[in-house]
């Protein structure tokens, strides 16, 4: 149980942080949306690797196959659901981005929110 054996977890966490960094620090909203996607992907990677089993086979029942050799199918099904969710969030976010661009003529959050302050002031 050291980092080498579990490097896939570490990669997932690094990816998660990269995504979070993009969401928080990037000014361009498209890049922020990409950041959200990176975060999602990292979690999917993490979930998949939970169910992984060394030398495992696809969890399809075939005559004569020892069920204990199958990889865990549950995380995979979870991820299928997760991907659906992720796609819909991305789609919504992108459509909002299009609307924002049409109405403000910019994708830069700083400019979007500076205008908000000006309107408030």
């Amino acid at each position: 149980m050291n980092l080498w054996h579990n490097f896939h977890y570490a990669v997932a966490m690094v990816l998660f942080c990269v995504g979070l960094y993009a969401v928080i620090m990037r000014r361009n909203i498209i890049k922020k949306i990409i950041g959200i996607n990176i975060m999602e992907t990292s979690v999917f990677l993490f979930l998949i690797s939970i169910g992984y089993r060394k030398g495992g086979v696809a969890p399809v029942h075939v005559e004569g196959l020892d069920p204990s050799r199958m990889v865990n199918p549950l995380p995979q099904s979870l991820i299928l659901t997760g991907i659906v969710v992720a796609v819909s969030i991305t789609a919504l976010a992108l459509s909002l981005a299009i609307l924002l661009y049409r109405q403000f003529g910019t994708l830069d959050v700083n400019r979007l929110f500076r205008e908000e302050e000006e309107e408030a002031g």
Partner: protein
């Protein structure tokens, strides 16, 4: 028919989902029927719920295996009394809001989007009902996602620039928090190998991976704090809640954030149970501090708002702090207070936003200043506002008083007297921001030309839901004894 009621919880959730899928076809045939059909689906859903009265064993729950797959393998619905109670609250408030929407959104939402509005509305209600009764953490995530996505879209539904910007802000905070929920669920699964709450509860106690459990709890709580807009993760709330169309503000402020706060309770009590609190004590304390800060911050900010809906939105932040403090008291009274507060805050807050909507609908007024002397022209709205504000402040005999009693009592019983004091200060702040508005409405002369003597009350389809909700705050205060016993038992069972 004897056992048919077992299927009612899942029917309550699926009927609005089904309705949401059906609405576009209906719109194709007959557009005018869409609002009525949405109300119909929600009414059916709520009506089925009334059959469950008395069917839930005191202190126990109804378990429903989805698709006949027995838990822990299949998804389980686990209807205990607090879940049922909140599900009924969702059904009732949604019904009021959907009836209210029919006339209101004609003004704010353009014709082509009206069907989409109702589809999203039904998705939002249905997912909330599923959210509060599910017994499976992954299902919790899925329901939360449907809820969040429909909420983002509904904030932006008017399509004007501020709304889109507020929705995007909401999404930017909401989407990462959703991913964190998934991550937390994944972490839990990785050390216990199960997703069923009851099963998890049995296993978290004796798993060896303490750090993973701590991390997963912290991540889940953090994620739900964003959704519940607990200070300091509330940044998205004031914009989103004040710019959305009023019935949507009512739903968002009254229910969406509140059920997210309820999810914190679910995670804390149904998953991490009393055995694991030793592990997550630090997180719980941090949560309580955040809650206390939220009560004060939200209240103070609300006092300084000029925009009417903005004030109500900040008040929501304050009240989510109440709920969090109730949960972190970790005793039956605190939990009961939190659940009851979710209900009565939901009703009262929905009513406040509907009152704001009435003013916007008739006069286009959004500023508190403009409400001076409003009662001459719209007395019913003003009275409804006062009743709801009464409950928000927590004055007897409204429902807010009952929940405040239990929240404060829970804190005192947990030995956390400072939090009890914070709750009381919170109600003073609530009194300040509510009375200011009531004072303007009733006791200040109107500005020249703002309000006439002529009665121009909002149309009946808007006034009736507003009034129904404001009377409900009284009903749940005066008849609180009907529910409290079961709630206390359910809460005791959670511990």
């Amino acid at each position: 028919m004897s056992g048919a009621y077992r299927h009612f919880p899942i029917l309550m959730v699926t009927i609005p989902f089904f309705g949401a899928a059906l609405l576009p076809f209906l719109a194709y045939l007959r557009r005018k029927a869409v609002p009525w059909a949405s109300a119909f689906f929600l009414a059916i859903s709520g009506g089925l719920g009334t059959f469950l009265v008395g069917k839930i064993p005191p202190g126990g729950h109804l378990s429903y295996p989805l698709g006949g797959w027995e838990p822990p393998y299949g998804i389980e619905l686990r209807v205990d009394f607090s879940g049922y109670f909140l599900m009924m609250a969702v059904a009732g408030i949604s019904l009021a809001a959907v009836i209210y929407s029919r006339r209101y959104i004609e003004k704010e939402v353009e014709g082509g989007r009206i069907t989409a509005y109702y589809v999203l509305f039904l998705l939002m209600s249905a997912s909330m009902m599923g959210f509060v009764i599910t017994g499976d953490v992954f299902n919790l995530f899925v329901m939360m996602e449907i809820l969040s996505i429909s909420s983002y879209a509904l904030v932006a539904v008017t399509g004007n620039r501020n709304a889109v910007r507020a929705a995007f802000k909401y999404l930017l905070m909401g989407a990462p928090s959703s991913i964190m929920v998934l991550l937390g669920v994944g972490l839990l699964y990785s050390v216990t190998g199960t997703l069923n709450m009851a099963d998890l509860a049995a296993r978290v106690g004796d798993t060896g991976y303490r750090e993973v459990l701590i991390a997963s709890y912290a991540i889940l709580v953090l994620a739900f704090m964003v959704k519940a807009a607990v200070f300091p993760l509330h940044l998205w709330l004031p914009d989103a809640h004040s710019i959305a169309p009023s019935p949507i503000s009512a739903m968002l402020s009254g229910l969406v954030v509140a059920v997210s706060a309820f999810a914190v309770a679910r995670i804390t009590f149904s998953v991490f149970t009393v055995h694991a609190w030793g592990l997550v004590g630090t997180t719980l304390e941090a949560l309580a501090v955040a809650g206390a800060a939220a009560v004060l911050f939200g209240g103070i900010m609300a006092i300084y708002q000029k925009d009417f809906k903005m004030m109500i939105a900040y008040s929501t932040i304050s009240h989510m702090g109440y709920v969090v403090l109730g949960i972190t008291a970790l005793n039956p009274e605190g939990i009961t207070g939190a659940v009851y507060h979710i209900l009565d805050h939901g009703i009262a807050k929905a009513c406040l936003f509907m009152c704001a909507g009435n003013f916007i609908y008739r006069k286009g007024f959004r500023k508190i200043e403009q409400l001076k002397g409003a009662w001459r022209e719209m007395p019913w709205t003003c009275f409804a506002f006062s009743l709801a504000a009464w409950s928000i402040i927590g004055l007897p005999p409204s429902a807010g008083f009952i929940s405040k009693w239990y929240l404060v009592y829970g804190s005192v019983r947990a030995g956390k007297v400072p939090y009890a004091v914070v709750l009381l200060v919170g109600s003073i702040l609530a009194a300040v921001y509510c009375f200011r508005v009531v004072y303007y409405m009733f006791f200040q002369p109107a500005k020249e030309g703002d309000w006439g003597e002529r009665l121009s009350e909002a149309p009946a389809s808007m006034s009736v839901p507003t009034w129904a909700l404001s009377l409900a705050t009284l009903f749940f205060g005066v008849f609180s004894y009907l529910f409290l016993d079961s709630l206390l038992k359910a809460a005791a069972q959670l511990l």
